[in-house]
C-alpha cells in the first residue's frame, strides 16, 4: 500500500467518524465539533488531490466562518441536550433504511459507471490558483457576479430576520 493511500484512508476514516459522531452526539456543540472534524479532513483530502486553493478556502470559509456562526448561535440560544420524543423512534425505523438505501444506490451507481476515470492528480501537480482565478473571472464571470447579489440578499435577509420588532 502506498503512502498516499494510507493518508487517504486515515483522512477518510476521520471524515466518516466525524459524520457518524455528528449523528450520535446529543449536544449540538459536540455535533458542530464533529462537523468541523469532517470539514478539516475533507480539506486534507482536497490537498491530497492537488486542489490546494479549495483546501484553504474550505478551512477559512467553512471552518473559520460558517461553523463559527453555528457555534455562536448554539451558545447564544443556550441550546441544551436534544430531547427524545415518540416521533424520533419513527425516524429511526424509517430513516436508517432510507438513508442506507440512498447511500447504497449512489455508491452502486458510482461503482458501475466511473470505472474508467483516471485517478486524481495523476500528474502530481497542484491546480494553480492563477488558472482557477482566470477561469472564475472569464468563463464563470456571470455566475460570479450573481453570487454577489445572492450575498447581498442574504445579508439583508439575515438583518431583517434577526432584528427585534419594536
Amino acid at each position: 500500500m502506498s503512502g498516499v493511500l494510507v493518508i487517504f484512508f486515515v483522512l477518510a476514516a476521520l471524515a466518516v467518524f466525524g459524520a457518524v459522531s455528528l449523528i450520535l452526539q446529543s449536544h449540538p456543540i459536540h455535533s458542530a465539533l464533529s462537523l468541523i472534524l469532517v470539514m478539516v479532513s475533507l480539506a486534507g483530502l482536497y490537498l491530497l488531490m492537488g486542489a490546494e486553493f479549495i483546501a484553504a478556502v474550505q478551512i477559512i470559509v467553512y471552518g473559520g466562518a460558517v461553523m463559527v456562526l453555528f457555534v455562536f448561535v448554539i451558545m447564544l440560544l443556550n441550546a441544551g441536550v436534544e430531547e427524545r420524543t415518540n416521533f424520533s423512534k419513527l425516524a429511526t425505523f424509517g430513516g436508517i433504511p432510507l438513508a442506507l438505501a440512498l447511500g447504497g444506490i449512489i455508491a452502486a451507481a458510482i461503482a458501475r459507471s466511473s470505472g474508467n476515470l483516471p485517478p486524481p492528480a495523476a500528474s502530481g501537480a497542484m491546480t494553480s490558483t492563477r488558472e482557477l482565478s482566470k477561469l472564475l473571472f472569464s468563463e464563470f464571470v456571470y455566475p460570479f457576479e450573481l453570487t454577489s447579489f445572492l450575498i447581498l440578499v442574504a445579508i439583508l435577509g439575515a438583518i431583517v430576520l434577526a432584528q427585534r420588532e419594536n
Binding site: 483530502l45 479549495i54 474550505q58 470559509v61 453555528f70 448561535v73 436534544e82 455508491a107 476515470l117
Partner: protein, 100 residues
C-alpha cells in the same frame, strides 16, 4: 495513487450519513448542520471529478457551493434564532403551527 472511485464512494457515504442525520436529529441547528454535511459530500465529488478530468471547472463550482452555503447559513441561522425566540424551543416537532 488513490483511484477516483474511492473519493466518490467516500462522498456517497458522507452524503448518506448527512441524509441520516437530517431525518434522525430533532434539533433544528443539528438538522441544518446535516445539510452542510451533504453539501460538503457533494463538494468532495466535484473536486474528485475535476482532478480526474484535469479541468479546474469543478473547483470553480466548489467555490460557488461554498459561497451559497455561507449565504444559506446566514439566512438559515437568522430563521433559527427567530424560531427559537418565538417557540422557546429548538425541537423541530414543537414547530408545528403556521401561526402562534
Amino acid at each position: 495513487m488513490v483511484p477516483t472511485n474511492y473519493y466518490l464512494i467516500l462522498s456517497a457515504i458522507l452524503f448518506g450519513l448527512g441524509v441520516l442525520a437530517f431525518v434522525f436529529k430533532r434539533n433544528i441547528i443539528t438538522i441544518f448542520m446535516a445539510i452542510e454535511l451533504m453539501l460538503n459530500a457533494v463538494n468532495l465529488a466535484f473536486v474528485a471529478f475535476s482532478q480526474a478530468l484535469g479541468k479546474p471547472d469543478g473547483e470553480v463550482f466548489v467555490l460557488f457551493v461554498i459561497v451559497v452555503a455561507a449565504a444559506e447559513a446566514a439566512v438559515g441561522l437568522g430563521i433559527i434564532i427567530l424560531t427559537a425566540r418565538n417557540r422557546r424551543s429548538l425541537n423541530v416537532e414543537r414547530v408545528d403551527l403556521l401561526k402562534l
